[in-house]
């Protein structure tokens, strides 16, 4: 009898362990030590659950206990921007709760658990609050997060496990681990991020600590820093608009305000040797304009660091030896710019990355500065893996770059004629992008890249269609008049 009653209880306990082994152990390890087979390839690394540290907890107490809801939320919703997926749909509510208990047990965390931090004195989003927040942020947060919160830290940050960490980029809402809400941001500021150098701003020992109202001001400033255009929306058609006149060599020229940004995800190179598992650049935003003579691309991507090998400050943030930053624009290699019917109608493109023996690519690689050396633009041709070959830069391709507040901007000007592919109005050109963060030791094959997109040169205003319309209008009337006259002539 006792056995019968006990059996379901025992089997439940062993069931959750089975589920843990089946689903979680691959990253978190069989004993929860964060040492599963995938762990070496992940940054942030999978948590060592036996330590019981929860980075994204919202509990008020100084002790490291999370709230029950924190544990449930992490299991159910995962941690966006990391490899931890949302298990909500996969596990039943009961299984999620059992798993939460199991994980707390691994971390030797005893109940009762604390409740969430109280959010006193909420200040609504308004211009004054944002302005107060901006001043406070600049004073107390910008050292690590950068003035505009793009995570462009001025010092090398490490977590308690000795791994390099980068501050959150506030312009990219999709990278917030706990979801993008003001309440969540408030919790982070109040509690800090345990295990990292992000301190609690509620802690009186923190010289930079903030009053609750001040924290809300900072929340509102952080909230105002989002740049939604950076989030890729799955569209892949970059429209280059026609400009009647010159396109100045200036990033801030008003001519650019007419062109919309199109953003793309950059994924780490995992296709061939020297794979990159822990990229730091995840998206690029692109604008394009053209006139009678030149096509101009403006690329903008966030990079925590301006990597200038040999410069002391840059070496320090990168932790020693590092590489130059880089960015490349790739297009099909075409003599004379003629696209075959196949390529036009069926969207045939060269193989991603290096092309193939029968469809080559031209790659314009921008390499960032290093000590005593300016940045430069190089041209490569390739016909498949291992065939990359540098060629002299096509005449009058020019570029302009700048690093500001955590973002690189690169402007490249291509003459419509005179590069390995001609650009023409109303043409579609396959285009792909790649980026290297030197401070992340990204070089050669270790980089992030986009999928193929299209660049379209949208024709400017033209009177031709109107002339055709008018011509047909007049001709039709002439025919009608002739017809009516002839008919009248007949009895």
């Amino acid at each position: 009898m006792i056995v019968v009653i006990l059996l379901p209880v025992l089997s439940a306990a062993s069931d959750i362990k089975d589920i843990y082994i089946e689903k979680c152990s691959w990253c978190h390890g069989n004993e929860g030590k964060g040492d599963g087979p995938a762990s070496k390839f992940l940054r942030p690394a999978p948590r060592d659950l036996t330590e019981g540290v929860f980075k994204y907890r919202t509990s008020a107490e100084e002790k490291i206990k999370p709230t029950w809801d924190d544990v449930i939320r992490i299991i159910e919703d995962g941690l966006p921007g990391s490899a931890m997926p949302a298990w909500g749909g996969e596990l039943s509510k009961a299984e999620v709760e059992e798993m939460a208990d199991y994980i707390l047990k691994l971390g030797k965390i005893e109940k009762p658990l604390p409740i969430s931090v109280e959010r006193f004195g909420e200040v609504k989003v308004n211009a004054e609050s944002i302005e107060r927040g901006r001043v406070l942020f600049k004073e107390r947060c910008a050292e690590c997060h950068g003035t505009f919160g793009r995570g462009n830290t001025t010092k090398r940050l490490k977590d308690d496990w000795g791994e390099v960490t980068w501050p959150r980029n506030f312009s990219k809402p999709w990278s917030f681990r706990g979801g993008y809400t003001r309440e969540y941001i408030y919790s982070r500021i109040t509690i800090g991020t345990p295990g990292t150098q992000m301190p609690s701003y509620d802690d009186p020992r923190n010289k930079k600590s903030l009053m609750p109202e001040e924290r809300w001001d900072v929340v509102n400033y952080v909230w105002s820093l989002k740049e939604p255009y950076k989030e890729p929306r799955g569209r892949d058609l970059i429209t280059a608009l026609y400009v009647d006149g010159i396109i100045p060599d200036a990033f801030d020229d008003p001519v650019w305000s007419s062109a919309p940004y199109l953003s793309f995800y950059l994924n780490p190179q995992l296709k061939r040797a020297e794979k990159l598992y822990t990229p730091t650049i995840d998206s690029v935003s692109v604008k394009a304009l053209y006139n009678e003579k030149v096509l101009t691309l403006l690329m903008e991507w966030d990079d925590f660091t301006k990597s200038v090998p040999g410069l002391r400050g840059s070496d320090k943030i990168a932790g020693g030896e590092h590489a130059r930053d880089g960015f490349s624009v790739q297009m099909p290699l075409k003599g004379g710019g003629e696209f075959s019917e196949d390529e036009r109608v069926y969207g045939v493109k060269p193989a991603l990355e290096m092309g193939s023996s029968f469809r080559g690519v031209v790659d314009w690689l921008w390499r960032g500065p290093e000590k005593d050396k300016r940045d430069e633009l190089l041209e490569f041709h390739a016909h498949g893996s291992g065939t990359l070959k540098e060629v002299p830069l096509s005449a009058s391709v020019r570029f302009l770059s700048r690093y500001r507040d955590g973002s690189w901007q690169l402007m490249v000007k291509y003459p419509l004629k005179g590069t390995p592919l001609d650009f023409r109005s109303n043409d579609f050109t396959p285009i792909a992008f790649a980026a290297w963060d030197g401070s992340n030791m990204e070089r050669a094959a270790r980089h992030s890249l986009s999928s193929w997109a299209y660049l379209y040169l949208k024709p400017g205003y033209s009177f031709k269609p109107y002339a055709w319309g008018l011509g047909v209008f007049i001709i039709t009337i002439i025919f009608e008049v002739v017809f009516i006259r002839r008919k009248r002539g007949k009895p």
């Binding site: 990391s82 995800y265 296709k271 069926y346 024709p459 319309g469 009608e480």
Partner: protein, 248 residues
């Protein structure tokens, strides 16, 4: 029914059918294809009707009546006023620069080749068998677990920790990584097919599957043959799917 009504109905029917295909599959047929079909439908219908004398007359009579009959005078006046505008607009619309993105129709599971050259030999896909399936008991369990380790060191970044094709680097990949869960991917395929897709990767796809878009690596370069079979077995076991088999 008047000849013109027939032409109109048939042409409209074909047009709606073609648009409907795009609607059902979620990917619209390119308008150049649609207009080509509609044009030929129109032409052929006119030809068929005009084969007989009676048919030809039924086509010409309304025009002649419209142009010369006294009762049609009012209609004639209206048409003569409207016609230049309509034709002018058509001329404008045709010469106006149009931009339709080149489209890619991609076959997700193309027909496999008969023979695949991998691991320095020619492999007949029809004949090759998964050696892991011959194992039993602990040896089999162990091989599947090895497959899991291989999966989580190589594949899960894109295909996902839940094998649902939503790995943390799957965002923005076009085509998206295939999920292994569900009954419409690996459950529909033979293991030898999956083996081929893994060892030859995106580059090994035929032209109709747009190999230039895929970032699936050529795994024969970095995984041993046995390791590929282990990971293939793992993705079936983990998702509870059975490989397709022809013999019963």
């Amino acid at each position: 029914m008047g000849a013109y009504r027939v032409i109109l109905l048939v042409t409209l029917g074909v047009y709606l059918l073609l648009k409907g295909i795009g609607f059902v599959y979620g990917v619209a047929l390119p308008s150049s294809v649609v207009s080509m079909y509609v044009f030929f439908t129109f032409l052929v219908t006119v030809l068929i009707i005009s084969v007989t004398d009676k048919g030809a007359l039924s086509l010409t009579t309304p025009i002649i009546e419209f142009l010369y009959k006294e009762e049609k005078k009012k209609l004639r006046k209206v048409v003569f006023v409207v016609l230049p505008f309509v034709l002018a607009f058509i001329a404008y619309a045709f010469t106006k620069p149009s931009y339709e993105e080149p489209f890619t129709l991609r076959v997700v599971h193309p027909a496999p080749p008969r023979i695949v050259n991998a691991y320095d030999r020619n492999i007949e896909l029809e004949k090759i068998k998964n050696p892991i399936r011959e194992l039993t008991g602990d040896a089999y369990e162990e091989a599947v677990h090895d497959g899991g380790e291989i999966y989580f060191k190589n594949c899960f970044f894109c295909h996902g920790a839940k094998l649902d094709g939503k790995g943390h680097f799957a965002k923005g990949l076009n085509p998206a990584p295939l999920p292994f869960t569900g009954k419409d991917t690996i459950a529909q395929l033979e293991e030898s097919y999956v083996f081929w897709r893994v060892v030859k990767g995106g580059e090994g796809l035929p032209e109709e599957s747009a190999p230039w878009m895929s970032v699936m690596p050529v795994w024969e370069e970095s995984l041993k043959e046995e390791e590929v079979w282990k990971v293939v077995t793992f993705i079936y076991e983990y998702t509870g799917n059975e490989p397709r088999r022809w013999e019963k």
